[in-house]
């Protein structure tokens, strides 16, 4: 009987590239509705875990359960249509498309009509297309980009691009959202705003959120549970205050500087 209150469960995920073990025995259980974090030094294998969960990498061993369903080895587009959306560490927008087109592509996965409906000029096609447009505008409004809807996305400032990526991910109607360093490159003000925003979308869209983040204020501020990776191995997990005081974590990742600040 699958555990109904866990959105995502991974069981001993391991992936090898050639001889190198990038991630070993990664096991997490993420409760529905929570915001949780995955931290670790650069190259610890965090993004690799994301890539396994979202289907970009096939784990060498282990299982991924999403809402109790085994999704191990599914292709990325199937994972997405099952309800898992993600953002990327190095923003990956459709840079020649306009802002609203980016979001509409996100919504495409829930669209019933397709190209031959468009060719036949069917009313059902036009109806759905304008509904998608409305939905996209609504999401753009939520991230504060509604005014820029027709701009080319490649020309947006950095912070706006990050928010657009979020809106695009939300457009796929996910129940589980993976954010890869959402605060990277943001100033303290923007970071503060982002924290509020992440909490806000969790309740508004009924989401469970897993995020990778280097900014400890964000991680400690909004995550309810944290896993720490180092060299592909989970060295600690727990509530923020437990992680904060965990000796192993301090050694491996936070370093002297953080200890001094605390």
């Amino acid at each position: 009987m699958p555990n109904s209150d866990a959105v995502l469960e991974t069981d001993a995920l391991t992936i090898r590239f050639g001889g190198l073990v990038a991630v070993r025995d990664f096991s997490v259980r993420i409760p529905r509705g929570s915001i949780v974090g995955l931290i670790g030094p650069n190259g610890a294998g965090k993004t690799t875990c994301f890539n396994m969960v979202t289907g970009f990498y096939k784990p060498t061993e282990g299982k991924i359960l999403f809402n109790g369903q085994d999704i191990t080895g599914w292709l990325p587009h199937k994972v997405c249509s099952a309800g898992i959306a993600r953002t990327f560490q190095n923003i990956r927008l459709f840079h020649t498309a306009s802002v609203i087109q980016n979001v509409m592509v996100g919504a495409r996965v829930r669209q019933g009509t397709t190209w031959w409906h468009a060719l036949l000029n069917l009313p059902s096609f036009w109806k759905e297309e304008s509904e998608l447009r409305e939905k996209a505008l609504f999401l753009l409004d939520a991230v504060g980009l509604k005014k820029l809807a027709d701009e080319e996305s490649g020309g947006l400032p950095y912070g706006a691009q990050r928010r657009l990526e979020l809106a695009r991910a939300l457009a796929t109607d996910p129940t589980f959202l993976l954010l890869d360093e959402p605060a990277a490159g943001m100033n303290p003000n923007e970071t503060q705003e982002l924290m509020g925003f992440v909490k806000d979308i969790r309740t508004r869209f009924n989401l469970t959120i897993l995020l990778i983040e280097h900014d400890m204020r964000v991680v400690m501020g909004i995550c309810e549970h944290i896993w720490v990776l180092d060299y592909g191995v989970t060295i600690a997990e727990g509530r923020p205050e437990e992680i904060r005081s965990n000796q192993k974590v301090i050694e491996a990742y936070l370093g002297e500087e953080y200890v001094r600040d605390a």
């Binding site: 087109q101 996965v109 190209w115 060719l119």
Partner: protein, 348 residues
Amino acid sequence: MDPKYKRNYAFNGIAVLLLVGALFWSRGNLDGYKIQIMNLIAVNIILALSLNLIYGFTGLFSLGHAGFMAIGAYTCSLLILPATYKQTMFLLQAPMWPFSVMHAPFFVAVIIAGLAAAFFGFLIGLPVLRLGGDYLGIATLGFAEIIRVLANNMPRVTNGALGLKGIPSYSNLWWNYGWCLLTLYVMVRLVRSNFGNALKAIRDDEVAARAMGINTFRYRLTSFTIGAFFAGVGGALLASLLTTIDPRMFIFTLTFNVLMIVVTGGLGSITGTILAGIVITVLLEWLRFVENPITFAGMTVPGVPGMRMVVFSLALLFIILFRHQGIMGRREFSWDWLFGLFRKRREA
């Protein structure tokens, strides 16, 4: 409905009427050679639009157009050639059933030609579209070459190296421009729909598109197959226009000409493709003069064979080196843009 839409529909209608008027006028007032050029313009636009869908909008660098055109041209020709005529033309070996007896009216033949090309596009796309970038280009080029070798070596279907002659010339301004408008309609509908957005997304960033739930392979295959369909249609119209086809016609140069139009017009610009289709077709015809002897003031300058393609390839190099976005880049001419321009003028 948005008044803007109403206005645009009205202007589209007017544009089509103007085109019809122009065609009527040219039938009465232009000589056969000029009409032939106008026909070639329409066919080239069809071919270039289909390549632009594949390469410009979906980002699949395909060099297989000559292959699809050959399939379309042979299919259509075999369908519209009378059965008795086929028996006498196939000198090497008698034509094989069902190619010996099949027959269809021109419109149906063109559609079947397109479907045949689309079928082959689907078949070849199934394996090769997993490849990216330049490898895809080479694989599709290989496909086109294989088709050509097959055409050369299947005398019971294609009449081998002798080719098909005396193909009924049903193809005329009405058919060609009719198909051209239909192609244009299909392209605009596709590209402007959310399906088109997804194609462009795959072109921009395939990884992100997959993460957004786009089954990129299926989209690529769909786009490639639709493109192949219209390449087949273009080949069919061309066969009926030229009334003679043989395997040598479908060498890589044919693909190169179409690629040239797409690159010149701008990858991912429909109106750019139309503009470039006109310019390049006229240019290619005009350049024939370079290869013919010119008599000027009693002196005869001998023509230089090969000069036409020298100029042509230099033009392509010039564009790719100095203006690689082509005439239009990714921009489109639109009524909104035109009226926006007028408004600005008035305000200024």
